[in-house]
């Protein structure tokens, strides 16, 4: 393979990763790392460096569209980011105390349970059933967005901010330790625990993962893990894919989004359980 072919192949894979990441609110890492290492035989260090870049490109590229449309809940994102960032720092300290094997198993079980909940169907708190407590009111976590697929304005409320914070800090610890699980745990947290509509959860998760990734990206860059020959086509491809992804999410019926997300949760859960057992 010539360097030119390598750059074009990396670009093509990254467009796919960007679409996937922008629709589901996950980083493109789930696709970028295996594609680069298995298909293009890139060293794992450079693959992880490129995947961190892909997360930021998805987050900022899709974020520009979602924030403008009001799909991203900025307040929820800031609230939960306090938990994910402190969790990530805590994770860096407890690394070495707990064997990763147990964390992979625990994470796999949590994801399996989330997949089961997600499969039971879409549920979010709509305006009819308002039971906002004082904390929720003080944090003004509710919002509204125009759903293109449904053709109507969706007004929603949020609940259980404390439970959301707790799970988010756990997600932060996990991603700080294992380098996985950014979006894949944030979306179910916001949808199933806090009651945000799935599209809002996806857009908000997408917005949040860029910040966490930027913190680690600085470290990776200095360590020399971000090779521009690999990361450049990844960044451009993912940003282009993310723009396509925003168009798809807007038009996608929420029901189908639920099915796709459940399948992805199951796949990642199986992967985590496998890594914990072997």
């Amino acid at each position: 393979m010539t360097p030119l072919e390598f750059i074009l192949a990396t670009f093509a894979v990254s467009v796919g990763a960007g679409i996937f990441g922008a629709v589901l609110g996950l980083g493109g890492g789930i696709i970028v790392v295996p594609a680069l290492t298995l298909l293009l035989h890139v060293d794992i260090r450079y693959a992880i460096g490129a995947s961190i870049v892909s997360v930021i490109a998805t987050s900022s590229g899709a974020g520009a569209v979602y924030v403008k449309e009001g799909l991203t809940n900025i307040r929820v994102s800031m609230l939960l980011e306090t938990a994910t960032t402190s969790g990530a720092i805590l994770g860096a300290f407890v690394a070495g105390i707990v064997h990763p094997k147990w964390l992979f198993l625990l994470f796999g079980l949590i994801l399996s349970y989330s997949a089961f909940q997600m499969w039971r169907g879409p549920r979010h708190v709509t305006s009819g059933e308002s039971h906002a407590d004082l904390l929720v009111q003080r944090l003004s976590l509710g919002g509204s967005y125009f759903d293109q697929a449904g053709g109507a304005e969706v007004v929603y409320h949020a609940r259980r901010p404390k439970a959301g914070l707790l799970v988010s800090s756990f997600a932060g610890v996990i991603s700080g330790l294992l380098g996985v699980g950014g979006g894949v745990i944030k979306v179910p947290t916001m949808n199933l625990i806090m009651g945000l509509p799935l599209k809002v959860a996806s857009a908000t998760s997408n917005f949040m993962i860029g910040v966490t990734a930027a913190a680690s990206a600085g470290v990776y860059f200095y360590r020399g893990d971000i090779n521009p020959i690999i990361a450049a086509p990844v960044a451009v491809g993912v940003a282009a894919g993310a723009l396509i992804g925003t168009i798809i999410l807007r038009r996608m019926p929420t029901k189908i989004l639920h099915i796709v997300f459940t399948a992805v949760l199951l796949a990642v859960a199986a992967q985590m359980l496998w890594r914990g057992l072997t």
Partner: protein
């Protein structure tokens, strides 16, 4: 007496100004970064046409030990406008800086909205972010 129905109390009126500004910031960051990254790749092709058409050159570019700038200092020193790798790396640095800048700008945005709870929360996130740079050993 007629007035629009009040929004439920846990929903504040949308802060569209902030949203549009943040969206503009993200778009500018991504666009600038993409421009630099693309220019960098094109420069690589223009300056080393042979390098890029020979399969035997690939390992030297992408295998462990490949040479490229990886500190801000190196990127700036090598940035003479014609080194493809330095231009692309500068683009990647712009991309990495965008989300951090987004949090910093959000502090100001919430202050303009007089939403002090979120000014405090956002500042906390910014401090934690800078702290995680230190923990990671980059700062």
């Amino acid at each position: 007496m007629s007035h629009p129905p009040p929004l439920p109390r846990d929903i504040k009126p949308p802060f569209r100004r902030v949203e549009i500004f943040l969206s503009y910031l993200l778009r500018t960051g991504v666009a600038l970064s993409m421009m630099l990254v693309l220019t960098g790749v094109v420069l690589l092709f223009v300056r080393h046409p042979d390098d890029l058409s020979q399969a035997r050159n690939l390992p030297g570019l992408v295998a462990p030990g490949a040479e490229f700038p990886h500190t801000v200092g190196q990127v700036i020193r090598q940035f003479d406008g014609v080194s493809g790798r330095a231009v692309a790396s500068l683009g990647l640095l712009v991309l990495i800086a965008t989300p951090v800048l987004r949090v910093a700008v959000s502090v100001v945005a919430f202050a303009l909205e007089r939403d002090w709870t979120y000014v405090a929360l956002t500042m906390l996130v910014l401090i934690l972010l800078l702290l995680s740079f230190r923990v990671g050993g980059a700062g």
